[in-house]
Amino acid sequence: MNGFKTLAATGLLALGLAASAQAQSYPVDQIHITVPFPAGGTTDILARELAGPLGEELGATVIVENRPGAGGTVGSNYVAHANADGSQLLLTATHHVINPGLRDNLPYDTMEDFSEVALIALVPNALVVHPDVPANSVAELIELAKEDPDGLNFGSSGVGGSNHLSGELFKSMTGIDMLHVPYPGAAPAMTDLLGGHIPVMFDSLPTVVPHVQSGKLRILGVTTAERVSSLPDVPTIAEAGVPGYAAASWFGLYGPAGLPEDARTSLDAALTKLLGSEEIATTFKKLNVEPGELVGSDFETFVADEIEKWQGVVKSAGVELQ
């Protein structure tokens, strides 16, 4: 059992439980971050990387708990109805702002039942095609789709995910038709793209880059509003012929509605400091995500805009509602 103790100690350290008590702290000593996805996913990893530094900053114990299910709604619902003293937080992905448009029977109100805390991280998506597709730019792809409306399929990680709706947004803004082919997750879709079984996909940049470098995929554009610093030669889709196009995956931190003022202030201060820190920049770079910069009310406005945008996309795409 000795090994067990060593291990337990390592675990405690890793979870940031050994955090020394520091001066400022709003009146809770344990903070639970609910992740509404399974252990090991990007959201979970972000939460665990954030837990240590955040705990040190606030002088509290930060524990990550996975409550997966129903595209994140199970965990979100838990936090929506949790005690609003700042001890229960939620770290979730773009699903949070897509769900209101997609699901008409959500057990909570995405705008009313949460306090928006901070935009933690962003992941740009990229529009990629298999090398056999005779299109070297976004404009050529649009041309191709117009010539042969039945010919192009695009893959996604599933109905209502960010890379499905990035495609639907593209379709509705260009007026072309592509058949959506959903997969159980991004990885199997990528495999079919690499094998040439589907021609087009919108997927997260970190996944795409190694395949582009090895020549197995061709990148036509990035989905962000501005070019990505690591790929300065790749145009944005907006530049390349679809003005105004922007769609990224992002991860936000929320609390239940009505967080007390002191909790808000401490969290704002702690996250502003952390998200600008060298430590987080290094960690996030390793995970291939970019640190978010929006905190507090700026983030709240961002969330409201995103909900509206995705609701529009879901509607114009005619994604089946339940």
Binding site: F4, A8, G11, L15, H32, I63, E65, R67
Partner: protein
């Protein structure tokens, strides 16, 4: 109580199949090139009904009605084991890990013919709740309450 096994099997799968079909009709069936969510459950439901027809056929043509019947001498083990599971499920959110462990051990004690004495039951409950409390709550930090 004794029932013919083929008859009971047939009735179970007939009702399961009927249920699948009934639910699937509320879903879109779609076309071959774009199958809807109802298609697969519908096919399964129909196949279940076909299978149940085989069982019912066996029940009708069985030459020896006495062969292939089940008899349930006692439902007590099943009932008490299920009650113990149910009690644990209901109590763990409200009363925490320790008390629901005690509840599960106490209820399941009655399930067998050979029962633990009350003292050993108490000791078993104490040892198990200490163990799971230490391991799952303290060391592994499952999101469980320990205590009400």
């Amino acid at each position: 109580m004794s029932l013919s096994k083929p008859l009971l099997s047939g009735l179970i799968f007939l009702s399961l199949g009927g249920f699948m079909i009934a639910h699937a009709t509320g879903l879109r069936l779609g076309t071959v090139s774009a199958m809807g969510p109802g298609f697969f459950p519908m096919v399964i439901g129909i196949l279940m009904c076909l299978v149940s027809a085989v069982f019912l056929g066996q029940a009708c043509t069985s030459k020896h009605p006495a062969v292939g019947t089940i008899s349930v001498a006692s439902v007590r083990p099943l009932l008490l084991v299920i009650t113990a599971l149910g009690a644990f499920a209901i109590s763990i959110d409200k009363f925490g890990l320790i008390l629901s462990t005690v509840l599960l051990v106490t209820i399941s004690r009655f399930a067998g013919d050979e029962r633990l004495g009350w003292l050993p039951t108490a000791v078993l409950a104490a040892v198990l709740s200490a163990f799971v409390g230490y391991l799952f709550w303290y060391v592994l930090k499952l999101p469980l309450q320990l205590w009400p």
